[in-house]
Symmetry: C2
Subunit: 399 residues, 2 copies
């Protein structure tokens, strides 16, 4: 027993059991039925509050949010949605915004304040901004290492083949500290599925990193790209290291076509990230989970040039996953919660996640009697513990 | 100037102007540019906070919620959704629940705590429960008259023609104090559109009350029923007194068919209530508003036998309306807010609504700089004023 150990007495776990959690050196060192734990230097009585692992923010853009900065009204594209036009709108907005380091910190603290203690952020890397965004976000990550674990994806926001020099920049980004290589709509953006994936998977192989590809393409085109990604994942032995983010196309299929896609994703170990968009088809969470696919979630954009929504609260995101999926039964609400916790940890390959001996003592207490109630009520009343230390309460960071 | 007058200084209105609001005898007696108002007995400085009229909860079921009572897990119907089976599930649940008066009070206070000061509640009236629900809810309404204005709809939850004696019960309900007569899926439930509407509109004519019909029927069947309701509304000169709640069918049409439906609804003065359901087509808010249709909203069920969702926060409902409708621009977010405020007041025919001289001083101050930000951020930080008196703060009733 070290001098730093603390006993969190009377924690109600998701399975309903009431336990004492002992934390030493930032990790759970013992878990015992309530009242049966060994004494510790300090005891904090959780009073039977629901105690869950920290949420996993699986997809966010730390470099582009205006949360905490001036309000920037959304402007639609001139003739239907166009990624290039939106990127241009974004660069005008960013030029006028507060420094990126400040905005990234605002957003990161918003997430921690609501209970996320692990995060995967995409960071824009392209011919126009080069590695400038990444340099800022790497420093922000370093400065907040004690507060939250951050994975960074080198994200080719302007395509790879169609944005000169981006392949080289992506490689440079990996050398600088990115954990994964990203991609963006190989068909609709770069007009060359094979060429785009050659670069992405080539860099992944060369640098031993994972892959996380933004895929908005719908219908049979999107499904074709998902098939190609799954095939490469299997061929390269990268099962468990590849994510397709958004994957809207999966929301447009049902019956046998959906079953086939789910089985293929499960067999190739490709995970799917969805934020349960409001007015768009999105991957069917229950069907994919049933097929064995890891489905996880993230806020995606928070108040940026792409849309004004987002609150950084992954418990609210679980509510949205459930609401949009028609999840009413307790086991379904549990599934929505799994999407923002354990499934996210699996997709991000987090070691030492969860409430178990040896795991990092990153947890959240919630003003709810059990997980289904937490998902429908989204209580603001909560305390966030990082490595056993309270860091936020009721949506606000502590001192 | 009466002894009771109070000046609320530095209120930021939705149009951006900064004003002083003077309240006397529970009404706005004067509105002047900030700093230019006459002295009052008491002055409360709102410090430039966004100040908006109380929200309109346009569709709720005060008699069936379990909010604040024990958690009752949702159980699906045995073979696809079936209203009769769900009603049976509901009666088993209600039999085991806390007294209805307690549950109704819980729910009503939840709504007021978040800023709703006007409400339309449907109350179940049928052969099985008779007028028992209504008697309780009438008493609850009376007991909370100072806190919130409540309209009651006599709601034939088990149909009219197919539930013996319901027509007579609906009439009795109107005599007891219901403000409107309800209806329920004339086609799919009673299998007789004309017969069902004959009873509903007959009672409305006879008692001089409005109509608010639950219509879940989809596709061309639902559209046919909407056409029939609109035609009767026009024929009976009831423009502005008739609501179709849910009207899912409208979400299944587009182009000319939608335009025709919107024009017909606008011309007949039939309003549409939608709660922006999560996994179901719903009326297209922007298109209908453009056609001149009054579209308003409500929580619908809050944690009851129909679903576990709902938080009684109409600002969060505006967020959901916007999120589900793809509203990103400021004018769209303003529209989502209008749905839960002024449009609701129009649908409920509320006199003296809004922030204007002579109107009831029912208002909410919000921790947001303007309406679009309030809709995307849904700040919990807010104070609710009823007739000029603070009654709730940050989601909790005062004293």
């Amino acid at each position: 027993m070290t001098a730093s150990n603390t006993r969190f007495a009377n924690a109600r776990l998701a399975d309903g059991s009431l336990v004492d959690l002992t934390v030493a050196d930032g990790r759970f060192s013992a878990i015992a039925p309530a009242g049966e734990s060994a004494p510790a230097i300090e005891t904090i009585d959780l009073g039977g509050q629901l105690t869950v692992p920290g949420f996993v923010e699986g997809h966010i853009h730390l470099d582009t949010s205006f949360h905490g900065d001036a309000w920037r009204p959304h402007i639609p594209c001139t003739a239907g949605f166009d990624v290039r036009e939106r990127v241009a709108f974004q660069s005008r907005n960013l030029a006028a915004a507060a420094p990126m380091a400040v905005r990234a910190k605002n957003q990161l603290e918003l997430c921690v304040a609501h209970g996320s203690l692990s995060m995967r952020s995409h960071v824009m890397v392209d011919g126009s901004v080069g590695l400038k965004h990444l340099e800022v976000i790497l420093a922000v990550r370093e400065a907040h290492r004690d507060l939250i674990d951050i994975q960074l994806v080198a994200f080719p926001q302007s395509g790879i083949l169609s944005s000169l020099g981006t392949a080289e920049l992506l490689e440079e980004a990996l050398k600088l500290g990115c954990d994964l290589v990203g991609g963006l709509d190989p068909a609709s953006f770069d007009r060359d599925v094979k060429g785009h994936l050659d670069v992405v998977f080539g860099l992944a192989r060369k640098h031993g990193v994972g892959v996380d590809i933004h895929l908005h393409d719908g219908g049979t085109l999107g499904l074709f790209e998902i098939e190609e990604i799954a095939a490469r994942t299997k061929a390269d032995g990268m099962q468990g290291h590849v994510v397709v983010s958004h994957a809207y196309a999966l929301g447009e299929f049902s019956g046998d076509a959906l079953k086939k896609a789910g089985d293929m994703l499960a067999a190739s170990g490709v995970a799917i990230m969805t934020n349960a968009p409001g007015n768009h088809a999105f991957p069917p969470v229950a069907s994919l989970r049933q097929a064995g696919v890891t489905v996880f979630s993230g806020s995606d954009n928070i108040r940026d040039s792409w849309w004004p929504y987002g609150d950084g609260d992954m418990l609210n995101r679980a509510n949205m996953i459930g609401y949009r999926s028609g999840f009413y039964e307790d086991h379904e609400l549990d599934a929505a919660f799994d999407v923002v916790t354990h499934a996210g940890a699996r997709a991000l390959r987090l070691d030492n996640y969860g409430i178990g001996v040896g795991a990092a003592a990153d947890f959240v207490t919630l003003g709810a009697q059990h997980v289904p109630e937490a998902v429908v009520a989204v209580p603001k009343a909560r305390t966030v513990y990082r490595r056993g230390r309270a860091v936020a309460r009721d949506g606000k960071l502590l001192g």
